[in-house]
């Protein structure tokens, strides 16, 4: 009985792994395409691609980070903040995301600063 349960668990893991890998691989394709179009200045298309990537794989921190940058470039600062925070929640020790977020906060704080605060 125990052996059967172990076998079932092993089979489930083996079946699930390629699924997860496929999900990440599909999301990665969207992220890569987003990067290539962003480098050409096509930020709306990049946003579409990175939004797709986060839908396909919501745990993909890089996709959230890139999406935040694109939102920032489009002036959608509330959306940018949310995306940065999601990216940091997924990868709290990623120094690139932390650096991007710090730079973003500097600009965002300047725009929301009122009465000399």
């Amino acid at each position: 009985m125990r052996f059967q349960a172990l076998l079932a668990a092993m089979l489930f893991t083996m079946a699930a792994s390629p699924l997860a890998a496929d999900t990440r691989s599909d999301a990665k394709k969207q992220v890569e395409f987003g990067i290539s179009v962003a480098q050409k200045g096509l930020w709306r298309e990049a946003i579409y691609r990175w939004e797709r990537a986060t839908e396909i794989d919501p745990t993909y921190a890089a996709a959230h980070n890139n999406l935040a940058i694109a939102y920032e470039h489009e002036g959608e600062l509330n959306k940018a903040r949310a995306a940065y925070e999601k990216a940091l929640q997924l990868e709290p020790n990623n120094s690139y995301i932390k650096q991007n977020y710090e730079l973003f906060k500097e600009i965002n704080d300047r725009t929301t600063r009122k009465d000399g605060q």
Partner: protein
């Protein structure tokens, strides 16, 4: 020898692996910042002048008016009205003396040394009739006015500075040293008030505070300090009236 080679190869592989795992691309971005104030109803802007005080070394009223006009000329879409600065202190004195039967006129003619001295003049900004009249005279522009305090400042505190030291082998090192120092400088406290030239009412106001301190033996002209401090807050002032684009770089990740 083989062990050392293996170690070198493995460490090189580790570096390559780390670089391969973190695919990143630096990309320039321009973040558009929307203006805090909707000024689409105005074609012209009048920087009317300021009630100023703090030090006699700098005429903060004239300098601020000149600086803001030149900044607005190049960095906003509004047409800047060139005219003499308005005698705001006289207007405030006049309205104060009218309000109290002439008795307080002398009290507001004293030099403005601190924030408290500014208080009697603050009422001029709420004088809707006066600003409406100014608005009519200049074809109902957006009016920028307010107060500017530029005051000398002194503070004794512990400062960290770097010092060169040489060890017994004559090697130079730079070490941080904490010393108690007397420091002098200035505090700039402007309050920008935006008035609707059509109605004479205040639309928006913003307070700023910037401070600069130098070593006590350093002699920096007051006007240089004034411009240095104004430079810091000009972007915030401009972002109230016109959209700005802030350039920067970010890291895209794969």
């Amino acid at each position: 020898m083989t062990a050392r080679l293996a170690r070198t190869v493995s460490s090189a592989a580790l570096v390559l692996l780390t670089a391969a795992c973190t695919n990143y691309y630096e990309i320039p971005i321009e973040t558009p910042i929307r203006p805090k104030l909707d000024v689409s109803a105005f074609q012209r802007v009048l920087v009317a002048g300021f009630v100023s005080g703090g030090t006699d070394d700098v005429d903060a009223n004239l300098e601020t008016t000149r600086l803001l006009r030149s900044q607005l000329r190049t960095k906003s879409e509004l047409r800047v009205i060139d005219t003499d600065v308005l005698p705001l202190m006289d207007v405030a004195n006049e309205s104060n003396s009218q309000g109290s039967g002439g008795s307080s006129a002398t009290s507001t003619q004293a030099p403005i040394k601190d924030e408290k001295d500014l208080e009697p003049y603050e009422r001029v900004f709420a004088n809707v009739e006066y600003w409406k009249k100014v608005g009519e005279e200049y074809q109902q522009p957006l009016i920028v006015t307010g107060t500017v305090m530029f005051t000398p400042h002194q503070r004794n505190s512990i400062v960290q500075r770097e010092e060169e030291v040489y060890d017994s082998f004559g090697r130079r090192r730079v070490v941080p040293v904490r010393t108690y120092m007397e420091r002098k400088g200035y505090i700039l406290r402007p309050k920008f008030i935006f008035i609707d030239g059509r109605s004479g009412t205040v639309m928006h106001s913003e307070n700023f505070r910037e401070e600069i301190l130098y070593n006590a033996n350093q002699t920096t002209p007051a006007l240089s300090s004034y411009f240095e401090l104004m430079d810091r807050l000009i972007p915030s002032f401009l972002s109230t009236l016109s959209s700005q684009k802030i350039k920067g770089t970010r890291i895209l990740l794969q």
